[in-house]
Symmetry: C2
Subunit: 239 residues, 2 copies
């Protein structure tokens, strides 16, 4: 795991305005108190960032790339806990136990900023705005992620794709994007098999809601897709 020296733009990072490493124009004031980023790390594809039982020491913010967190169950199944993309934070689920319960591996070449949690707590103490922000962030996490409450497989996949587009291209409302993960990963996240995910892609394509070309996804009818995700009964029936 290499230590990265080059600075990159932090336009997507939630904490950019607090960060000591954020590149600023000369006109922009550097905050008097900044968050300590210990280092930036380059993680190659399939490299792991942390493992279960690793002591929880850092929060990570993704500059570029994508990761998944997962766990292997007693029966051998892999359960994917979540995917994390540029601008998102990773690691906070371990605050409670003090050690990680999941593995985190990168899905492609990835760069993360490492924030030591002890320092972070210290900064929190001095920064009401940061307090507010972290609470919002965790509250947000509490709300999403659970596609699993949705009933049918097709509904879950539709909701997943919509969320993915929004997270890969925030502020943009993208209608095409590249899947950062395999069908199997999607299945392990949505509690489906890779085969079922593949079948559903074919089906959504046949009903002209999306086009699939390998890892490329094109939304043809974003609104209908949304209605499908929302479970409108007649839409669900007709797709």
């Amino acid at each position: 795991m290499a230590i990265l020296k080059t600075h990159v733009l932090c336009t997507r990072c939630t904490f950019a305005s607090f960060c000591s490493l954020t590149e600023r124009k000369k006109s922009q004031r550097v905050p008097t108190e900044t968050l300590t980023v210990k280092q930036r790390r380059l993680i190659k594809r399939n490299e792991t960032l942390f493992l279960p039982n690793n002591k929880f020491q850092n929060l990570y913010i993704i500059q570029k790339g994508a990761l998944k967190t997962y766990r292997v169950e007693a029966d051998g199944r892999e359960v994917v806990r979540g995917f994390y993309f540029a601008g998102e934070m990773l690691g906070y689920e371990a605050i409670y136990t003090g050690h990680h319960l999941f593995s985190a591996v990168s899905l492609s070449e990835t760069v993360v900023c490492e924030l030591p949690y002890a320092d972070f707590l210290e900064s929190l103490h001095k920064k009401p705005l940061l307090q507010k922000q972290i609470l919002q962030l965790m509250s947000q996490q509490l709300m999403m992620g659970s596609y699993l409450v949705l009933t049918t497989a097709k509904q879950r996949l539709a909701a997943f794709l919509i969320d993915l587009a929004a997270r890969l291209y925030p502020h943009e409302k993208a209608t095409e994007f590249t899947l950062p993960m395999s069908r199997q990963d999607i299945g392990n996240y949505l509690k489906l098999t890779g085969e079922t995910v593949s079948r559903l892609f074919s089906q959504l394509q046949k009903t002209k809601l999306i086009t699939v070309k390998q890892k490329k996804i094109y939304f043809l009818k974003p609104d209908t897709l949304k209605q499908l995700a929302d479970g409108l009964p007649d839409i669900v029936a007709s797709c």
Copy 2:
């Protein structure tokens, strides 16, 4: 919704050590800065505490009783988001959006403490310990709740029962307790039908893992139940 004047003991509350209303022995020092509890509320069975789209203003801590949060989907299904018991906090999922996304109703006569969020944030500012605690609490919430990742219905129910016992009787390792909610509610939480939940209870009773008498549950083989919840393949097969 009545305002409750009488003080009750706050032994289970996470925030008792910060709270202005906690009853203390004369020997115990009252903290110089305390959390503001605006009021205590008595909520009768089936009364609602908040509704979707209600503005988020308060955090609630349950003194006594139980609540569920739920939402009605486009297809009419009721999805239960979570159950909340004495000593637990409620409402933080709405921090992000600023308004509630779920309904909260009490499952039995319930008493909650109302903490205005604005005051809470203010206290947070002054109390590093409280900061740490709230982060831990939310991190904890992020970790649990998802029984939905478990594969089989029986596994999910077993995990649910174990968690329930632990939360209804913290520090005790209870082997018997009374279900605060209906079979249907359990089903709506675990993404099962009420019928399936009922069938599973019968089956767990037939295989002598538990005894069921109406709402009363007795654990006969807590360890086996745990292994079932963990998905040990041979246990799953034999129950």
